[in-house]
Symmetry: C2
Subunit: 216 residues, 2 copies
DNA sequence: CCTCGCCATTTGGTATACCAAAAACATAGC
DNA sequence: GCTATGTTTTTGGTATACCAAATGGCGAGG
């Protein structure tokens, strides 16, 4: 039973489809439909749906088929507010508890981003960005914080990806990441806190701009 | 389908049993056993187990029956660290966004605690304490924050209940709550942040003491 | 007496059949 | 032509049967 359960596999496939936009927000995901569509029975599909619902990618409504979540700007802002608090906390804790190896890994991810920024590998750049922040959370030596942070990031994956398409933003991201890495290496909690906070604030503004643009 | 599903009902019953200590940490909760024990089939029981697992009250292990969680001191501390960050954030946001009615409700809960402190209604005192903190989170005008905070509190319900049995602690709790209420009414984010932080730190020390006492 | 391996039992995972409620549609009455 | 109502269909919820894997006991062999 070490193999991932069918429900997990399906959840993963569905998650990918949702994040990549193959399943548009608002699409309904009926148990029967998708169970057949993916060649499994309703039981694991049902479980997969519950998993994604808990993650916030699907919303369940009584008497209706589950629907791909379509978060409002306020919801995204609220979530980012929480992420900001958790990342600031992660940074502080990482300054105190991170091993040198962990900080090295963070720096490595940062340097990978610098390289990727030159190319047109948008997706890889973005995923490395996510990995960078995940690595900081992991270095907090607080497993639950890491887990929670991952959940929140996952939920915002798509909207962040869409809003991060502006290439002009990359320089700012890299500059801020540089400062965060420097802060971690110097174990300077104040610097990390400050830069992390500002970093997320900028992301929030970016997303606000994305929503504004989208609602034309 | 407005009625709560069987799975939810069972999850609630199990949750109660766990929090009240009727199901000792470490007890195994087999699907078949408990499905029969509670007079339902495996399907809703299975779902209930997943729900409680997501909440952290049960832990799932491949090839084994689920088991009632038995968090280590470090895990509890880690969780409290997160709760502290979220409650501080809640307090700040509440200062900015809470309606007068919400602050009134918070004060009312506080005053109810003052009354209950005189009696021996330990459980009610404790539940009002939880409600007090939940109310602040609700006043943050950030639904997701409220939800997350509730989840984290729920997970620590039992250990906090056990560690809060010391009556000598009530005065300190009430005093700190008084300051927090004052801070909210004055919309003084700094005061709220400070007192909330200190409040949770004290709770953490209490729990540390509880663990020390327990491990005799 | 100890150890290694096999088998039975128990576990969770999956498929499927059935049910009740609610939504959608069509039809009849106004 | 519109509304109200009854029927049909689709939905999720539940029960149950079956499967494969892992555990733990039991027995044979050392």
């Amino acid at each position: 039973m070490t193999a991932p359960t069918l429900a997990d596999q399906i959840a993963n496939r569905l998650r990918h489809a949702i994040l990549l936009g193959e399943l548009a927000p608002g699409s309904s995901v009926g148990e029967r439909d998708y169970a057949q569509k993916m060649g499994v029975s309703r039981t694991p599909m049902r479980e997969a749906i519950r998993i994604l619902a808990k993650e916030g990618l699907l919303v369940l409504r009584p008497s209706f088929s589950p629907v791909v979540a379509d978060p409002s700007l306020k919801q995204v802002e609220d979530e980012l507010t929480i992420i900001r608090a958790l990342e600031v906390l992660s940074g502080e804790l990482a300054c105190a508890h991170a091993t040198e190896a962990q900080i090295g890994a963070i720096r490595a991810l940062h340097e990978r981003m610098v390289v990727l920024a030159e190319t047109e590998e948008m997706l890889q750049f973005f995923e490395t960005d996510m990995a960078f922040h995940r690595a900081i959370a992991r270095a907090s030596d607080n497993a639950r914080l890491d887990e929670l942070h991952g959940q929140l990031l996952a939920r915002l994956w798509r909207v962040r990806f869409l809003s991060a398409r502006q290439a002009w933003d990359r320089d700012r991201v890299l500059k801020q990441h540089t400062l965060i890495v420097a802060g971690l290496e110097a174990r300077d909690a104040d610097l990390v806190r400050l830069e992390t906070d500002s970093h997320i604030q900028h992301i929030k503004r970016n997303i606000q701009g994305h929503f504004r643009r989208e609602s034309l």
